[in-house]
């Protein structure tokens, strides 16, 4: 089956952040500490893609735009991709690949604890994004599992907040956006339960 043009376009656009970083390294455009820039930028894009996946349902329902649903998996997988790169580069260059150092950091630094937890939650979500597995799991179980994205997003924002030295403006902006997106779920659940009551 041919792949839709719109999906190819989204795939290409979603690669732009990492393409910019690769270009930026060789063109010396990432400032005096390019590694810090790269690790931070990858993390931010991971968080942004996570938030984008959370935008799909509200837009689809409230914006009456059902065709948006087909893009959510790709956005989710890109979130995983960016988070995976963020974590891998951190382990390789900051910890020189040492697993014992990684364990030490996970245990001792609370911002890394929650970041790692967020990543771990995303792993089964990424694995179960394959059509065959969705069919085998069935819609109900798959939906329940993928509610884990709510927890992962909260942990990701907390990771960012606890990592920021003094200026918490950016993490707080992401927190506000996440609060709205999660607030939508709370509202939707409440509205649904009200509908059930009146029937």
């Amino acid at each position: 089956m041919a792949i839709k043009k719109s999906k190819i376009a989204l795939f290409t656009i979603s690669l732009l952040p990492v393409a910019w970083l690769v270009y930026g390294v060789f063109a010396n455009k990432l400032g005096a500490n390019p590694i810090e820039y790269i690790i931070r930028d990858l993390g931010e894009w991971g968080l942004r893609f996570l938030l984008l996946t959370l935008c799909i349902t509200p837009l689809r329902v409230m914006g009456q735009w059902p065709s948006l649903a087909q893009y959510r998996r790709m956005l989710g997988l890109f979130a995983f991709f960016y988070v995976f790169l963020h974590l891998t580069i951190f382990i390789v260059v900051d910890l020189s690949g040492s697993m014992s150092a990684l364990w030490h950091e996970i245990v001792k630094r609370k911002f890394i604890t929650v970041g790692m937890l967020a990543f771990i939650i995303l792993i089964p979500l990424a694995i179960t994004s394959v059509n065959k597995i969705i069919k085998r799991m069935g819609a109900a179980r798959w939906k329940t599992l993928h509610k884990g994205v709510y927890v992962a997003s909260i942990l990701a924002v907390l990771h960012f907040y606890w990592m920021a030295k003094a200026d918490k403006t950016e993490p707080l902006i992401y927190a506000a956006i996440l609060a709205v997106l999660l607030g939508y779920r709370v509202y939707a659940a409440w509205a649904k339960s009200r509908k059930k009551k009146t029937v």
Binding site: N28, A32, L95, S96, R109, A166
Partner: protein, 293 residues
């Protein structure tokens, strides 16, 4: 896999540098003028001027690293006056030119280690603080020297935000202030300090975390009380008065055992007192450095 235990950090650094050069990645031209007596280490490469002047923590001009270079472009530092007072015989308001007039400026190459976990090697120009302060005849009861940065939100727009309490404050114990390493810098790479680096004069205390090297100083006070310091006011659990570089004492939220030397890929081990232990360890001989962090 190459692990830190099997090869020394310097070997990894040189190997990676070779690999990167072979791959054709541009590396900023190294500048290796003859290093004077205070040189950190003959093998330590100076951080390129471009990095030193575009990667700054100077919240008076914005909290992102690249903001001070942009926002401080038109910061006027002439005329500049320093208010020197407190426990001394000759308190006075003195102009920048008079302050430095009697002294010959010299170059010192020092490591600068930021509390965030990165470091640079910087060729400063300036004068030993001990020499600069001697004319004020500090009295015997003075135990500390307190410093303040300019407080003027019109000229330093970052001061309109309350990310820190303004003016920026710092302080040293009197023996730290009088130590031969403690330096008042007026230039770097042989030129006047760019505004983003703390023009026209900033402290350099190389064995402490960089935030103690207070910039754009307008007030110096000799006191018998431990001075307030801005980062300690901001978060006393995270930033102490002494803030000596110490790989054994972690920041509450991150490790201090390693640092990224700008220009290098892999992190290197942080050294006690930023490698100046031979010269400063005696100042803290009987102190519990975990309590007095």
């Amino acid at each position: 896999m190459i692990t830190k235990d099997t090869i020394t950090p310097k070997e990894i650094y040189l190997k990676r540098r070779e690999l990167m050069q072979a791959a054709g990645v541009g590396i900023a031209a190294s500048m290796l003028p003859t290093l004077p007596a205070y040189a950190a280490d003959d093998a330590e490469k100076l951080t390129p001027k471009e990095s030193i002047t575009t990667y700054n923590n100077f919240y008076e001009f914005g909290t992102a690293k690249d903001e001070p270079a942009i926002n401080a472009k038109n910061f006027v530092t002439k005329p500049w006056e320093i208010d020197v007072g407190g426990l001394c015989e000759r308190p006075q308001k003195i102009s920048f030119d008079e302050f430095f007039a009697p002294f010959k400026k010299e170059e010192r190459v020092y490591r600068l280690r930021c509390v965030e976990g990165w470091s640079m090697v910087i060729p400063w120009t300036g004068v030993n603080l001990y020499d600069l302060l001697s004319r004020f005849k500090i009295t015997g009861d003075a135990k500390y020297v307190a410093f303040e940065t300019l407080h003027d939100p019109e000229r330093m727009p970052g001061q309109k935000s309350n990310v820190l309490q303004w003016p920026y404050r710092e302080g040293l114990r009197i023996d730290e202030a009088m130590h031969p390493l403690t330096f008042m810098a007026t230039g770097l790479y042989g030129e006047d300090l760019p505004p983003q680096n703390g023009a026209p004069m900033r402290l350099v205390v190389p064995w402490k975390y960089g935030f103690k090297s207070i910039k754009s100083i307008t007030k110096i006070t000799f006191t018998d009380k431990q001075p307030e310091t801005s980062w300690n006011l901001s978060n006393p659990q995270e930033y102490g008065f002494y803030s000596n570089v110490n790989p054994n004492i972690d920041h509450p939220r991150w490790s201090q055992a390693t640092e990224r030397r700008l220009g290098e890929i892999f992190k290197r081990d942080t050294e006690m007192f930023n490698g100046y232990g031979d010269q400063v360890a005696s100042l803290y001989k009987d102190m519990d450095l975990a309590k007095n962090f």
